[in-house]
Structure formats: C-alpha cells, structure tokens
Symmetry: C2
Subunit: 177 residues, 2 copies
C-alpha cells in the first residue's frame, strides 16, 4: 500500500510469510500492581483478561484490554489465555514481586534520558470530557490540550510515570500540515 505524495523510506511489500501476524500487546513493568490496575481499570476502563503467575521466576503478568460492550473473554483459564494472545492491542503489565514495598524503587519512563520507548496512546470520543474525567480522578497531566505546540493532544502519566497520550481522532485531521 502506498499513498499519493507521501514518502515512506525503506518500505517493502508484505509477503505471505507474515500473513496472520498480529500486534498483540505492549509490555510495561509496574512497581505496584494494585495501584496500576486501579488506575487502568478505573480511569481508562480496561479489563484484566488474564493473570499469569510465575512462582519460580518471581513475577506476575496482567493482560488488560479495552473491550467493546459485546466482547467477552472465555471463562476457562486455558481457553482464556489462548484467546488473550489472539487479541490485538492489549496492554501487558508485569509485576516483579517485592518492588511495591521498596520505597526508592521506580521504573524508567523512557522520556527522561536514556530515551527509547515514549508512550502508549488512547483515542477518546470527547477530549474535554476525558480531561475533566482525568481531573476528577486526580490524574497527573504532562500537558493539557490547550498547552504546548501540539494542540488537541493531551499527555497524562500513569502510576509508574509512563506517559499516556490521549487524542480525539476527528480533531486531528490537520495534524502535521
């Protein structure tokens, strides 16, 4: 696929070998799963699809989705694991046991040096309503929609300090022009 007037350096045509590949999830480490899960379920309405514990290795994984109203994960644990790994666009939170009780422990957000990963992004139906909702939940803003050079783009922080971009798609038609 290519689009008129848009240059995409390096792009190759897809082949049969990658058919059926699906971008399943993004994984972030979190210090305290109780705080992280409260935040993502309350503020962003996500649901925990599956928790997997690895006792020998000392960590737990939590797979979160923002499911549509008609979507429902299977009750059976094995079926639910398989179903989870077939989804698109999940968030996986990893808890290395014990970090939650270490006062000076914090993960690196990727925006301070050394840089790498920057953020995840949620698309919302109404940006002002979302900002009001974040305020009602005492969410920390990096920038509001009327601040900075990129208007209509909000950034907030999750409980570990990772940045979350929040946008309303139909207000971004002119972005980058």
């Amino acid at each position: 696929m290519s689009f008129k007037g848009e240059q995409h350096p390096g792009v190759k045509a897809p082949t049969a070998e990658s058919q059926g590949f699906r971008l399943n999830h993004t994984m972030l480490r979190v210090k305290d799963p109780e705080k992280a899960l409260a935040f993502y379920t309350r503020v962003f309405g996500m649901q925990v699809l599956r928790r997997l514990d690895f006792e020998e290795l000392g960590f737990s994984l939590y797979f979160l989705a923002k499911l549509g109203a008609s979507e429902q994960a299977p009750e059976d644990e094995g079926e639910r694991t398989v179903w989870t790994f077939r989804q698109k666009g999940l968030l996986e939170l990893t808890h290395n046991w014990g970090t939650e009780s270490q006062d000076d422990f914090a993960y690196h957000d990727g925006n301070a040096e050394p840089q790498g990963f920057s953020h995840i992004c949620f698309s919302v139906p109404d940006l002002e309503a979302a900002e009001a909702w974040f305020d009602a939940n005492d969410v920390t803003f990096v920038k509001r929609s009327d601040q900075g050079k990129m208007k209509n783009v909000v950034f907030v922080k999750d409980m570990d300090g990772y940045w979350i971009e929040v946008v309303q798609a139909d207000r971004l038609a002119q972005l980058g022009d």
Copy 2:
C-alpha cells in the same frame, strides 16, 4: 468482569466516562526510519498508514498497522489521519531528524538498566515457520522457542534493539500453570 479463582488486586469497575476509549498505539523512537520501516514492513508485514512531518520541531511520525486483507485506509490525507487515530493496536515510530547519521547514537531498549518498557508482542499462526522466516531475514534473536525457561516464547530484536516477543496463541494454554 472477574474470573473464578483469579485475583486482580486494585481492580475497579469501568464507568460510563471511559466508554469509547480505545488503546490506539505504542510509540517507539527509532534512529533510522529507512531501516526501521524496512524491518517492520518486510519481516512483520506491517503497512505505513500515515506519515506526519513536523518541520518546526524536527521530527517525523510513522503510524504502522498489521491490517487484515479486507482492511483499507482512506486515500485522502486528513481522512486517513482521523482513521489512523481510530484504530486499535498500532505502532508509532518517531524519527528525530539527524539521528540516523550519528555513528554513536542509539536508543535505550528498556530491558537494560534503567528498566521500564520491555517489549511489543506479535501473535503468529505458526511459531516454527516464523522462526525460519526471521532466520531467512537475518533477524537477531534474544531467545528461540526451545531456549530458556519459557518454552514456546520467542524474542527477537528490531533494528533499534527493542525486543519483540513472538508467540503462537494455541501453544500457550498452559502458560503460568
């Protein structure tokens, strides 16, 4: 939603305010877009939906998706931007202009210290076929499916050193047991 026998600390019930929120993308900074786009389009079959250039700020954004065979982005640029921000589970690659020509420049993968973000994950229909495809494209492995404690889980690196997990969903039914 809750599941029998599975504890999810901190979880709150979703409210009306987060209805319609959607996890749109994950953003990673890349040193050289030509190399990064060649990798993600060739090896993982992704398509560039939209490129946005910010001349004043000195960066370009590339939004990539693994679309299904019947999915098609609009040709019109404004419509395509809006369409892109309504999707689920995209990958956004950011190129800060000039990094590609700096010999000693590299982004931080989040798995070396200081840790934070860990990886993105693709689900594939056939794990052995995917490993053979990675070998055919000289992709760097962090671990193969038969290595380490977590069998059936592959990790490779992209051109910036970010880790990509690769799994076959129906082989993970027993994961975490």
